[in-house]
Amino acid sequence: MNAVTVRGLRKSYGDHEALGGIDFTIEAGEVFGLLGPNGAGKTTTVEILEGYRRPDAGTVEVLGSDPQRSGTAWRQRIGVMLQSSSLYPVLTVRESLRVFAGYYATSRDPEEVIGIIGLAEKADARVRTLSGGQQRRLDLGLALIGDPELIFLDEPTTGFDPGARRTAWDTIRELRALGKTILLTTHYLDEAEQLADRVAVLRGGVIVREGSPAELTGGIVETEIRYTRAGEEIVERTTDPTSRLHELTAQALARGEVLAELEVRRPTLEDVYLELTE
């Protein structure tokens, strides 16, 4: 069953066409990554799915309903983390979660969510005293508090330090393990590669590539082998890294040499992404 179905979606702001007819589906239980540079149309897409913006053309179905016509029962089933923090600065972390828990007929226990977002030590701290990253984690907590089936995360880890990003990734993996459907927008390629079952690369309002991270990187077959010989850096590309590496190392051993700074690199999503968005 599809959690999200998008067909021929178009949206313009004045003369500027933000979305030029995009199609994609998200299956229930899937983590779907919407990847693209700033201004590619990621937030416009997400905000149409959340019901904030009206599409100019095309059909959008989210959990079986048109977001423009769905009511409180539908909102019960979605969780939204906006691109910028939206919190009450005077409340504490715990109070914020309790306030928002109260809006749902069934919600998760605020104490449990405090644990999930890793803010146990800050539970009684006022939101205004939190760091930017901690506020983002609370934003994530508020998106989870209603125990939604479908979670929209718009650039959830922008501005995080590497440690905090990994913690957030673990949280998102746990949500996936619980069977939640997640739509994630990001401009971090490693994030999409780490978390998403499928990725759509958006550029200039159109989807230029779609598939699993492995499928996308599989398009580029050449593996890169780098090493230094006699002070000179050598870069080779090969479609058969196993044999080529065997040859290289055999020759080096025969000559009694060392392949200094040997590195074998598979194409990453980043290579694909740069190729697509440049």
Binding site: Y52, I78, V80, L82, S84, S86, L91, F100, Y103
Partner: protein
């Protein structure tokens, strides 16, 4: 109903927790009453032939409706809109109408407590009798708070940023509070100021509270003042329906 009660409690927590807002909207009229009551509470307002203290008490209730239901509400809602809080609330199952009703109810509770405090100070410090038309006063407070809250929500559409909210709102409400005669009698004004006062809603609300508190009138005898306050309330409501937004300007 559960959601409504939950949101009214949330709004009360948010209001009292936010010290600066609570000071400007709740305590400022009380402080003005203490200060001006001490300065000229025992003198006579010659143009009105009444003692100043009860006159000022009714005027500070007028100032209170402008500061809580109008200015305070407008600034709060602009800040919530621009910080994305309203947008987030729209994504929850809390119905928008329940939310707005809870915000208005909470604002009214604050205004009611403020009025009670002003009346208590009048009684204890300035020998002003407790108003003897409690139901007429309550009716006036409800009409006034509703109308000024509608105007406050209408004003939010004219404010572009959270940073600009108190500047714009104060630019409207401080001159209004002074020109409408919450501190003085407009009858003592030069004619151009009186002409201005004659179109301002706060002039009529203050007239309403003064006639109920100082002259012991029933509310149903105050048709023209009621009509003027309600007319402004409808104008505010239309502006709010046209211009109230849940999303920040750039989002």
């Amino acid at each position: 109903m559960r959601l409504f009660v939950h949101e009214v409690r949330t709004e009360q927590l948010l209001f009292w927790r936010n010290r600066e807002a609570a000071f400007f909207t709740f305590f400022l009229p009380v402080i003005f009453f203490l200060v001006f009551g001490s300065i000229y509470g025992d003198s006579t307002i010659t143009k009105e032939h009444v003692r100043a203290a009860p006159f000022l008490e009714a005027g500070m209730i007028g100032y209170g409706v402008a500061s809580t239901a109008f200015a305070g509400l407008a600034i709060t809602m602009v800040i919530r809109r621009e910080s994305g809080v309203l947008k987030r609330i729209r994504a929850t199952p809390l119905p928008p109408a329940t939310y707005l009703l809870a915000v208005l109810t909470s604002t009214f509770i604050v205004f009611l407590v403020e009025t009670a405090l002003i009346v208590a100070i009048g009684r204890l410090l300035f020998s002003v009798a407790v108003p003897d038309r409690p139901f007429s006063l309550l009716a006036a407070l409800i009409v006034g708070a509703t109308a000024f809250a509608a105007m406050g929500l209408g004003l939010t559409s004219a404010v572009r940023s959270a940073e600009g909210s108190s500047a714009v709102v104060n630019f409207v409400y401080l001159p209004m509070a002074i020109i409408s005669g919450t501190f003085f009698s407009p009858k003592a004004y030069p004619s151009f100021l009186r002409a201005l006062a004659d179109v301002l809603p706060l002039t009529y609300f203050t007239k309403l509270t003064r006639n109920v508190i100082v002259r012991h009138e029933h509310i149903w005898t105050q048709g023209s003042s009621l009509a003027a306050v309600l007319l402004w309330g409808v104008i505010g409501l239309l502006a709010a329906i046209r211009g109230f937004r849940w999303q920040p300007r750039d989002g």
